[in-house]
Subunit: 323 residues, 2 copies
DNA sequence: CTGAAAGCGCTTACAG
DNA sequence: CTGAAAGCGCTTACAG
């Protein structure tokens, strides 16, 4: 079996405490003892056992990342940055994809209670009873989950406002909104609100299709929109999947973009992920959001005070779907 | 602090061993004792501590998944399925994205030695010294890493052969190969070999651009190909990124697809991820590969015998980039 | 600087 | 069926 700290101690002729001390920095250890211990360690090919260390220190050094799915540009990118941020802070990340099953989301809370992970970052679309989270170190994205659980988000309202104003400045006379409505209270709702406010301000009719759909129903949503508002010459699509579906569906029906209809999307096509023509879009500050989420979580884990909400500014990127 | 098994035992008026027994199935425990224990557990809001359990049982219940990047269709999809497979087998998955840094790949081996994880699935492009892996439970994808480390792959040779033959059957007279050459021995090399064999068999010239590039250099690679072999009327693109880049670059240069040049890709566009026109492609059996990888790994962890190599058949999907 | 001991929270033979 | 004890492999006061 693998060598333990006791084996090392015996071979070096010292106590286990001393071995532990050289393991953890080697401060207040005599140079020659240190050398002897190190020699024994390498001779025995010793590797300290994390499970023991963690049990003793009462921390796992792992955080959980819960996302609905991995196979989605936003979540994949978010996961990528979370992993990097965690790495920088000496944490590992446990990946959980809920596949839209509420049960799996609750499992994470269990993992925290069982001390399998020290905390979790929650990107979720489900309703949970606030009591369920009872004091667990948690951070959320785009959503206020419960009191005491901070969340990070992008400037949904302002970015949408800007997008719609942009369509107007590009000559659109009739502008619609297509989105997949979140099933829970979420910052994402501000997108619709911003759109409606701009319409009102300009005395333009509000053309909204914003249904609560699940992944996979985007094409049907786009069809519904086109049936109702096929005459719009500008469209704000409130998310990646919906934007993709809308463009495909519109072109299928013989419309040209941006000739017949100009499109601005929240989330765009995430750069090189796709080969699509570049959609004019609001690019979420995914990297910053991830880094902040990680920092907030660590503060929560360490019992420090954190703000309830952090908003990061997104970027407006002009592509080829507007004139 | 959180209640421990000792607290429960005291409250229920039994020994900790008994509590442990009801925790683990409740077999050979008297019904009434069991009830008493369960009552105490719920009254104390008791949750067993995984770290202690694991230290005692000498298993972490976690496997690591190492991929170059998350933000890539193949890897994201693979991660998704690995997570599902792990879940089914009662394992959690630790996500590590190497970002092409060899150091981070080695870190995983450390984590195994430190018993932070029970094993790992390695999707990697780097060379490692075989000794480094010394007996660790490992499974690899598309690559023979070292003796005793099984790997899963798709039928690279056959699928490529079929693709190139398909181009020929569709009237292509001059067919090229564009790919990003793996920097290590890998099954992926069979793609080039298959292409060359078919060319030879048909007495056609071999037009190959297959350089060892890193992510991000695909466009330059495509440009190089077009400069050298702009006259080809058929192209086999040996991977997702390269195919994407080639199509974009070809269209930029005024070529039509499939009019001027027909394209078949290894990996296609991964269904709904992108809004691209459907590329004719070899679809890797990602789900099966992931499931098999997980099963092989579990067997390795349990010390069972496993095959050195498992090949899964891929699917040929006709899209709009061929006639 | 260093050793012996206690303890992190479990599980598992071992007796009874 | 059940309790007391040993032990998983560490770290951390506590003495010296």
């Amino acid at each position: 079996m693998a060598a333990t700290i006791a084996d090392v101690a015996k071979m070096a002729g010292v106590g286990v405490g001393t071995v532990s001390r050289v393991l953890n920095g080697g401060k207040s250890v005599n140079e020659s003892t240190k050398r002897a211990v190190e020699q024994a360690m390498s001779k025995l090919n010793y590797t300290p056992n994390s499970m023991a260390k963690r049990l003793r220190e009462q921390r796992s050094g792992i955080i959980a990342l819960m996302i609905p799915v991995v196979y989605h540009p936003f979540f994949a990118q978010f996961a990528e940055y979370i992993e990097q941020a965690a790495d920088r802070h000496k944490y590992s990340v446990l990946l959980v994809a809920s596949q839209q099953r509420v049960q799996k989301e609750s499992n994470i809370i269990d993992k925290i209670k069982k001390r399998e992970v020290d905390g979790a970052i929650f990107v979720t679309h489900f309703v949970h009873r606030p009591e369920e989270f009872c004091g667990c170190p948690l951070v959320s994205v785009d959503r206020h989950l419960a009191d005491g659980i901070p969340f990070v988000t992008s400037d949904n309202y302002k970015a949408t406002e800007k997008s719609v104003e942009y369509l107007i400045s590009k000559g659109c006379k009739r502008i619609g909104y297509i989105g997949s409505k979140p099933q829970v209270e979420s910052e994402v709702e501000l997108r619709e609100k911003a759109y409606r406010d701009v319409m009102r301000r300009h005395g333009m009719e509000e053309c909204v299709v914003n249904d609560a759909i699940v992944h996979g129903e985007e094409a049907a949503l786009a069809q519904k929109y086109l049936k109702l508002f096929g005459d719009t010459d500008g469209v704000f699509a409130a998310g990646y999947s919906v934007a993709t579906a809308f463009c495909a569906e519109a072109e299928k029906q013989g419309k040209t973009i941006p000739g017949d209809v100009q499109v601005v999307a929240y989330d765009g096509m995430f750069g090189s992920w796709s080969d699509s023509h570049a959609i004019t879009c609001v690019e979420q500050p995914v990297e910053q959001m991830a880094y902040t989420a990680m920092e907030l979580l660590i503060k929560k884990i360490e019992g420090k005070e954190v703000p309830e909400k952090v908003v990061h500014e997104s970027k407006f990127v002009v592509g080829t779907t507007t004139k």
